[in-house]
């Protein structure tokens, strides 16, 4: 590969970029970018544009764009509004380029799209027109739309995940949406699992098997084999049902990674202060604990929903960032880990990309 691996890092205090050669041993840090605004998510469009979504305590929500590899950035929020008499958008949680269109998930939960590379935005109103919307209630992390998962071949289909509300799917390009939460528990609500209100933390899908969805939920890890219509609990074998991120292996739809934390009411950090990533190579039927190179004592690390990513190399690289500013990297699919960066602000997101030079 004549290129570099680039890790886009979103933090509470701006965006950063970590770069390494394909061996992924030595990392160089650039930043902070985006005027140190809180950045929830970054991504790289196919044309090379970098996008960063976030929100300023003073200046409101925006999607930042860079056309020069991160050297300069400009924010825009034109059209990023529900209207003068509607709820105010506080921040952007997710920014996802899909075939020339850029999607943004915001708080309070809603979906926007841009057809001009993030300069102007248009509300995908159908989602908030779902009859359940008046009953959406924020969780501890707010009422955020954090996961945007596009079907790889059918442009009309897309799934989104909303914290404390659940998963929705559209099959008509965003005009109408259906709940996709059957089989997912909501332990924090009385009675049987409701149609919506489940607290999805992260959705994952592999482009080679687009009917198989995975999710890390507040109440377990789940797999769906039918595009989200029915979910199966694949938590057994994991030490905790609670965690935030989930990623799918870039070349194997059966392999997924999660980071179980010690519980929603117990601090939400690595179990017993021992850092571990858990991997399943069989669609969640069994799990392996991966710890080589990770701190095993006194490591009360937290990892948030956007803060794990994979790169597309062979073998695949796996990365996660912590709420205490460390980035851990594995260049061999999670077998061995090294510390790629430390002393960063609290990390909210990681995104990996290959950059050809």
């Amino acid at each position: 590969m004549n290129g570099q691996i680039e890790l886009l890092v979103g933090t509470k205090k701006g965006a950063f970029i970590l770069e390494a050669d394909a061996d992924r041993r030595s990392w160089q840090l650039r930043g902070p970018f985006c005027e140190t605004w809180p950045i929830h998510d970054l991504s790289r469009g196919s044309e090379g544009t970098l996008y960063a979504g976030g929100g300023s305590e003073w200046y409101g929500p925006a999607v930042w764009r860079s056309h020069d590899g991160g050297a300069t950035w400009a924010p825009s929020s034109e059209g990023l509004t529900y209207g003068d008499d509607e709820p105010k958008i506080t921040t952007v949680w997710s920014v996802t380029p899909v075939n020339g269109t850029v999607y943004a998930g915001v708080e309070p939960a809603g979906l926007f799209r841009s057809e001009d590379g993030g300069t102007t935005w248009r509300h995908v109103a159908g989602l908030r027109e779902h009859p359940s919307c008046p009953e959406w209630q924020p969780g501890n992390g707010g009422l955020c739309l954090h996961s945007i998962v596009a079907h790889p071949t059918d442009e009309q289909r897309m799934w989104v995940g909303i914290s404390a509300v659940g998963t929705f799917e559209t099959a008509d390009g965003g005009r109408t949406w259906a709940t996709r939460n059957r089989g997912v528990r909501a332990d924090f609500m009385p009675g049987p699992p409701p149609e919506f209100g489940q607290c999805v933390h992260k959705l994952g899908l592999h482009s080679a098997d687009p009917e198989t969805l995975y999710q890390q939920n507040h109440c377990g890890v789940y797999r769906s084999d039918d595009g989200g219509r029915q979910w199966t609990d694949i938590t057994p074998g994991l030490p905790s049902q609670f965690g935030f991120p989930l990623v799918v292996h870039p070349h194997d739809p059966a392999t997924i990674y999660v980071i179980p934390l010690n519980g929603d009411d117990r601090g939400r950090h690595m179990i017993d202060g021992s850092a571990a990533v858990w991997r399943s190579r069989d669609r969640g039927q069994s799990w392996q604990r991966l710890t080589s190179g990770l701190p095993q004592q006194g490591a009360y690390l937290g990892v948030l929903r956007e803060a794990m990513t994979v790169d597309p190399l062979e073998p695949a690289g796996i990365y996660f960032g912590t709420s205490t500013g460390q980035v851990f990297a594995s260049a061999d699919e999670g077998e061995n880990w090294t510390l790629a960066a430390d002393y960063l602000p609290p990390i909210w997101s990681l995104e990996a990309a290959v950059v050809e030079r």
């Binding site: 003073w58 200046y59 409101g60």
Partner: protein
């Protein structure tokens, strides 16, 4: 013309940053912000939120007094300071 003072954290958001101090012939605060937005597109979104109203943590002082009403009139000698509130952590 009214004199407008802009904070560092606002002007740095623009590829061609406005000066920290400039003069505008504006009838009220809304007119002033509109003129700023015309010269530096996106400025209104940074200072105002839907309503429209000033963002919660953006303070505007006219001749030393904090004003929240976008219809607040300006005079030729008005001094307008746009200052981010103490916020964040």
């Amino acid at each position: 013309m009214a004199t407008v003072h802009l904070p560092r954290s606002l002007v740095t958001l623009f590829a061609e940053p406005p000066p920290r101090r400039l003069q505008l012939d504006a009838t009220d605060l809304a007119d002033l912000i509109g003129q700023l937005d015309g010269r530096w597109p996106g400025m209104r979104d940074r200072v105002c939120e839907p309503g429209p109203q000033l963002r919660e943590h953006i303070n505007v002082f006219v001749d030393g007094r904090r004003q929240r009403d976008l219809k607040w009139p300006l005079e030729a000698a008005s001094e307008v300071h746009i200052i981010p509130a103490v916020a964040g952590g």
